[in-house]
């Protein structure tokens, strides 16, 4: 089946990973399309691979969201070797006793759905490392 990544900073190869745009001037990293660096205003960037394992910096368990968003789920910020990444924590019960800041997690992929042409969109999440 053909697959597309949910976002263009997710690379779906044998070892799926995230790619950040790193400012050549100051090293600040971003995931969105850039005009210039928000830190130093530099305009030159290079793409860098983001570490696939990290530490959960903070989280919430979203129980109430917009229509169509499946709840409850764990949303958080993961420190991947110094790069902050927003993502869901998956493969863990959405229970405050099961999730804790500081826990080690690793990148994994999550299916978002299949469109009428048979193409699957694939997103990402972070799962606890046992």
């Amino acid at each position: 089946m053909d697959r597309v990544p949910l976002v263009d900073y997710l690379v779906l190869d044998d070892e799926p990973h995230l790619v950040a745009h790193e400012c050549r001037g100051c090293g600040a990293r971003y995931f969105d399309r850039r005009c210039a660096c928000a830190n130093c205003s530099g305009q030159e960037f290079r793409d860098v691979e983001v570490q696939r394992v990290g530490t959960l910096r903070t989280f919430t368990i979203v129980a109430f969201a917009a229509e169509g968003v499946k709840v409850p789920y764990v949303a958080g910020v993961i420190d991947c070797g110094g790069t902050a990444v927003r993502g869901n924590v998956v493969n863990v019960p959405p229970d405050p006793d099961q999730v804790r800041s500081g826990m080690k997690v690793r990148l994994t992929t999550v299916s978002v759905g299949v469109d009428p042409t048979g193409v699957e969109a694939v997103g990402f999440g972070f799962e606890p490392i046992d």
């Binding site: 919430t60 109430f64 949303a75 910020v77």
Partner: protein, 399 residues
């Protein structure tokens, strides 16, 4: 050195649900009441700054058509939840710049029944995947890559503080909310004046852990307005006007300086700390001089971090500050004696002026049963996510 600016008159409507009044009606009610409080009319006003996020473009002009079209410049301002503070600040700047000696700032929102303020609702499913937006996303990202809901974002901010410094858990966040709901019982202008027990708060509907519904700001309708005057002009007015005037000792607006990760999870701390530091420097006073604080408790988890950001405690000491009882109305430094956004309500654009109204009313000694006795100095803080932070420090008149 630009001259000092004072609040000559100020008003907030009762916050709640107004079925028969639109944003212009509410804004007009508050603007007219603020001018009556100041003892002036539209003929005296040299600048109007107005905020109403959910209304029409040109809200300020619509307001003028109801209260007085005098040809003065109108600034329609928008800065998320800091819109009211921004309106106030525009009037302050106009007076300091010497363009006029009196200004009117108005903030209004009709927010009853608005529900969850979130990033995006799911789009209709069915078509082929199409890349859109700055992330080249093929579907809305809220819920797929973290959360874009306000309760979820502020929950993470509180949880990050809890993890870094320890001592804060679900119960502690709920106790902050318990304080604000208790305070609201003395405020007849609050949208909700119901005391809630810790159990009721913790067992309320969970929105985004650790924030239950009772720990979230209340959507409601409301308006607030202020008449500002330059010190030179104030000295030409009556003794009674001068006695009730409240000095704006500091008026500061900041945006988000870049910090690592601030585009992943909004950093509401750095810009608040910078606003507070600048405000204390402008006013020449420190947090130890404050008699009361109205801070932006859009969620219980936000109030905790702002104790620290505003310097009300030692760095890392917000939990201890709260546990000491300091921010209760009988405590060392009462915080949100109005009931805060969680019970008084949060009609977005009105909030940044309503907080100033609360502080000013105490400094005038006119707060009735909830008066903080002997209040001479107070601080009002708001933050609009994205971000904009407004801090105003107010002082009682010496005359």
């Amino acid at each position: 050195m630009a001259e000092n600016v004072w609040i000559l008159g100020i008003h907030m409507t009762r916050f709640g649900k107004y079925r028969d009044k639109d944003a212009v009606d509410l804004g007009a009610e508050s603007a007219l009441a603020a001018m009556a409080d100041a003892g002036v009319t539209m003929q005296d006003i040299g600048v109007l700054s107005a905020g109403n996020l959910l209304g029409s473009v040109g809200f300020g002009q619509a307001l003028q058509k109801q209260i007085g079209q005098t040809g003065i410049p109108v600034y329609n301002v928008g800065n998320a939840c800091a819109t009211g503070a921004t309106a106030l600040r525009v009037a302050v700047m106009a007076i300091k710049a010497g363009e006029c000696d009196m200004g009117l700032a108005v903030g209004v929102e009709k927010l009853s029944g608005a529900g969850l303020l979130t990033g995006n609702a799911r789009k209709e499913e069915g078509g082929p995947w199409v890349r859109e937006g700055r992330f080249g996303e093929v579907a809305p990202l809220d819920g797929l890559i973290g959360t874009e809901t306000m309760p979820g974002i502020f929950a993470q901010i509180g949880m990050e503080y809890a993890h870094r410094y320890g001592g804060a858990d679900f119960e502690l966040f709920a106790r902050i909310s318990e304080k604000n709901h208790a305070h609201s019982t003395l405020n007849p202008k609050a949208a909700y004046q119901k005391r809630m027990s810790l159990e009721e708060i913790m067992n309320d509907v969970m929105i985004a852990y650790p924030n239950t519904r009772a720990m979230c700001s209340a959507n409601c309708d409301g308006a607030a307005a202020a008449v500002l005057v330059g010190e030179g002009k104030l000295r030409t007015l009556s003794q009674d006007q001068q006695r009730r005037a409240v000095k704006i000792s500091a008026s500061v607006l900041t945006s988000d300086p870049w910090r690592d990760g601030c585009q992943v999870l909004p950093d509401i701390n750095t810009l608040t700390r910078q606003a507070a530091e600048t405000a204390y420097e402008q006013a020449g006073i420190g947090p130890e001089d404050l008699d009361l604080v109205e801070l932006h408790d859009c969620f219980a988890s936000a109030e905790l971090v702002h104790y620290d950001n505003l310097g009300l405690c030692e760095p890392g000491g917000a939990v201890e500050f709260f546990r000491s009882g300091a921010p209760w109305r009988g405590g060392r430094l009462p915080v949100n004696v109005s009931g805060g956004l969680q019970s008084k309500g949060h009609p977005i654009s009105a909030t940044g002026i309503a907080n100033v109204w609360e502080v000013a009313t105490h400094l005038r000694g006119e707060a009735g049963p909830r008066q903080i006795e002997g209040a001479r100095v107070g601080l009002a803080h708001v933050i609009g996510l994205g971000s904009a932070c407004g801090v105003h420090i107010l002082e009682k008149a010496a005359v």
